[in-house]
Symmetry: C2
Subunit: 405 residues, 2 copies
């Protein structure tokens, strides 16, 4: 548009940024989701690949800037909140013992696998231990999205995955605290105990008493409030508040979001579910594409980095599959496979651990790229494997929110 | 938490940012909305005041950073999209002639008033003309939110306000282009004509043919798409696309968002309306609080700045009230008052004009603060005035989306 007054173009640059990024990321994600579904692949794989395409790896049209990172974080929070709305805390406590075993085995195996792989590559002890710690935390968002969209959340294996993912996050926090202590040269037992008590206490108290507290308090507040959509606004405030508390006690914000949803599950009416669905429909593609945006293929120029990346990816997938599968083996091989596959995806938590190692100077830059590759790789392989593992499970009508347009 | 491992607190800082800002802004906005409603004032006044409280003026807890500005922009887009969904283009064309007169008088009077006030204060010609240009554009978001939430959108005066606001935005663009030309020392007639043709063409084409095009194309695409919530996703893509196009032709993104909603109004099913409602419930408080966040009371330390701010605020309110009211006088005094009051709020567009003047060096810093004060002041006085002007109008059941929780 050469005839265009210069001041308009100059200002269009900044004014166009938000709608441009929204259109590019959301639009590409949805187009790729459609393409993947046509080829019988889960749509979310397409949404992650859309991020890879738009990001520094290929087109470099979109940078993961502050705005996109915030939208991605909000997407993950709303996704887990919505999944929490579908889950009753009592059901998770019922599978608690199995979930604990799944989580413990699913933390131990990847931790030692990461340690051993790096040690065999000649890395130092602290570096190897840090990579092990980065392999630990399952990122339940991807699995939750597949289970929710296919109507499989009501399945027993799904409950175990969700409960185990919460425990896994607390264990991951402790592993990180421990290896950070190691890197600093002394193990602060008092500090570690305090971290453990705080994280476990927060999670257990919200899970155990949240539902009853919300059932009592929310209708009371609703009656006394004159603004519209009071219940939805209250739900959002509790969602943000518990996400923040979760970060303060040291676990991921999405664990707080999940607990908020679960605590609301017996209180939320249909209207709140619909409104929350609208927000997550808008925001979740930013979470998914945001994963792909973090990958930069040019980090993998050297042959040795590619080899170690592939080995670590295979180790990451197999150790969760075997560790978590073993933990759930008493439920039969079908459920063991479902649980094992569902726990494979890693995510931001692993990248954050690697970033801490990077900032402490115990992990070199290329190894950080390897961890990012591992996180994105596990995220991409999980959805098709989940489709396979759950192929004989009927979707539940209760999930019509997720399955019908 | 002094016993807390240092690495957790260090990382909690960054990880906590998004949930903390969401909780602070959304939570405070909703609490203040409730307080205002208790005192018989519109809730949105409270949400703007929440921004003033949290921002640099008082507590300085929240800065209008990239993330908040983006959320505010998205809030405005979704608000206007949702309002557009309730409006049929044919109804706006029916009131087109009146709306044109309302818009023209409502642009001319504030422009000359701003010019004269500044000239009387001893400002130079270019500076005075720029302030006049910053007084021109009505920001229809505030009025739209009041009309939508009270169920008054179906009223004839409301249709005129919406149509006039769209025309007003195009006229505002032309005024800005003209004064920018003046400041640069030569009037580029060809460029101005091109701007006018492009902006008018875009608006008229979408308004005139958008509805029919969407009615034909959307069901076609929906039939051929296998991803869930296809219609909502399509609506979002069109919303972002038209907002972006609007910015490119030079009008505000929210005008594109409004046109997208209006073009979708005959196609969107109940489900799309509910989902869009959820997103705007989440995002609109960021738009409202974001207005308050821009105010910095410390800019008004000197007596002369306070005097000129108050004079300009009164001039801004009266000239829209009288100018737009005169334009709608043929419909009777009640509707003239409603239209005049509904056109009072100024917003980002005025601030953007002042910013351009600032960056061109024709507006000094204190005068920029005066324009911001004028924009926020008109925004705060409009909602109670609208409540008064519409007090005898029954809300329409068709708006149950907005009026029932």
């Amino acid at each position: 548009m050469p005839f265009f007054p210069a001041f308009i173009l100059a200002n269009a640059g900044e004014a166009a940024h938000v709608p441009l990024v929204l259109l590019l990321v959301f639009g590409t994600a949805k187009v790729f989701a459609e393409i993947c579904e046509r080829f019988g692949q889960p749509g979310i794989v397409g949404e992650i690949l859309a991020g890879v395409l738009l990001g520094p790896s290929i087109l470099n049209w979109v940078q993961p800037d502050q705005i996109l990172i915030a939208l991605a974080e909000m997407g993950a929070m709303f996704l887990l909140f919505r999944v929490g709305l579908e889950v009753r805390a009592s059901e998770l406590f019922r599978v608690g013992k199995t979930a604990l075993l799944v989580a413990v085995l699913g933390v131990a195996l990847p931790f030692f696998a990461g340690w051993i792989v790096l040690a065999m590559e000649g890395a130092g002890r602290i570096e190897a231990v840090f990579v092990g710690a980065a392999m630990v935390a399952t990122s339940v968002g991807i699995t939750a999205q597949v289970l929710a969209s296919k109507g499989w959340l009501e399945h027993r294996a799904s409950k175990i995955i969700l409960a185990a993912a919460v425990i896994d996050d607390v264990l991951g926090l402790l592993v990180l605290a421990f290896v950070s202590n190691l890197a600093k040269g002394h193990v602060d037992v008092l500090g570690l105990t305090a971290t453990a008590v705080l994280a476990c206490g927060f999670t257990l108290i919200i899970a155990k008493f949240g539902t009853r507290a919300f059932q009592r308090v929310v209708p009371e507040i609703e009656r006394n409030v004159s603004t519209k959509e009071a219940q939805f606004n209250l739900a959002l405030i509790l969602l943000f508040g518990l996400s923040l508390l979760a970060v303060y006690v040291g676990v991921a914000a999405i664990i707080g979001a999940f607990l908020a949803g679960m605590a609301f599950s017996e209180t939320a009416d249909r209207r709140v579910q619909d409104l929350a669905h609208g927000t997550s429909e808008l925001l979740v593609p930013f979470f998914l594409a945001g994963i792909g945006l973090r990958l930069n293929i040019s980090d993998f120029a050297s042959g040795s980095i590619i080899v170690i990346s592939v080995i670590l990816l295979i180790a990451a997938a197999l150790t969760k599959l075997i560790g978590c599968g073993l933990g759930a083996l008493t439920l039969g091989r079908g459920d063991a496979l479902r649980v094992g596959v569902g726990m494979i995806p890693r995510g931001e938590v692993g990248m954050v651990v690697a970033q801490i190692g990077l900032s402490m100077g115990v992990i070199p830059g290329p190894i950080y790229a390897v961890v990012v590759f591992m996180a994105i790789g596990t995220t991409l392989i999980a959805p098709p494997l989940l489709n396979y593992a759950y192929r004989n499970c009927a979707p539940r009508a209760a999930e019509e929110d997720f399955t019908l347009a």
